[in-house]
Symmetry: C3
Subunit: 137 residues, 3 copies
Amino acid sequence: MKSYTEYLWFNTARRREYINITSQVEEAVKKSGIKEGLVLVSAMHITAGIYVNDAEEGIIQDIDNMLEKLAPFGPDYLHHRTGEDNGDAHLKSILVHHQVILPVTSGRLDLGPWQQVYYAEFDGRRRKRVIIKVLGE
Amino acid sequence: MKSYTEYLWFNTARRREYINITSQVEEAVKKSGIKEGLVLVSAMHITAGIYVNDAEEGIIQDIDNMLEKLAPFGPDYLHHRTGEDNGDAHLKSILVHHQVILPVTSGRLDLGPWQQVYYAEFDGRRRKRVIIKVLGE
Amino acid sequence: MKSYTEYLWFNTARRREYINITSQVEEAVKKSGIKEGLVLVSAMHITAGIYVNDAEEGIIQDIDNMLEKLAPFGPDYLHHRTGEDNGDAHLKSILVHHQVILPVTSGRLDLGPWQQVYYAEFDGRRRKRVIIKVLGE
């Protein structure tokens, strides 16, 4: 069994941003030398998410709109008694989920035709981290 | 370490359908010969999901009703500027999540008493695929 | 390759409860002797969830409020034709997701500064179980 670990850093210009990280994950798989296995891609902060979906600007905005409808940015969170203003970002992270597992087959990410891996930043403008861990052989 | 990969194909009659695939996953685990490990079950399309819940008709309809409330089928998605009409299906896939990981113990799926694995089709009537990958020994 | 499996049992006093289980998962990783790998933490019941977020009372209540807004406790679920009254708990489990995968690096949970693992009980006051399975070497 082999394993390989890599960390990606982000510091977005805007509060919310959706960044396609598929090629960076693909690159990590290549470096790992693993041919058959699984890759975990997981946000290390509680106000960000990782998801797999389409690299299409319209649907990215639709996802953002849905999350804003279900967990709107605003003042009315109990979490804000701590001095924070990012309650919505925690909830968006829960809804999107903060991680995915990708299959590795024959040394490549085994994704469907339209599947792309996204880092979803819900409270940016600060340094944040994602872990990539490949396990297999 | 051993690994085993299998693909399931679906082509549902209706746009939305929920299909119990537990026995197919169990079968893949058996074929893998793996006694201790993890199985990834992951939709390879961005308008489908995989979840674990009850094999009970009422709750399946309740899940569908909730998803339709949170991300309704309809015309008002930016994604539809591409000519597609399935914006809701992408959002439903995000909410349900497109994958699960199941534990394998003593050569069997190590599930609780009511846990069943479901393929959730949100934009059917076309050929779509799910990957099953077992990792362990 | 090594694997290690452990089960946690819960029997909460209230219907809904959020319990920090990070130290129990950390303990299981230590017992496994695994230095590099992945840990699956997965609810074995269909009315509970596992998530990673903040150990802060306000945000825990905010998560509960959001889930109650999106899938309210109440009588109007088709699932209740079976005699059950916990339709909302199934839906909350779907939204939160019933599992997480945590990376293990150098024998420790490789979590970000604020990441804590929570058991989310949505239909308590009965004995329920969570599986922890560590895979790696």
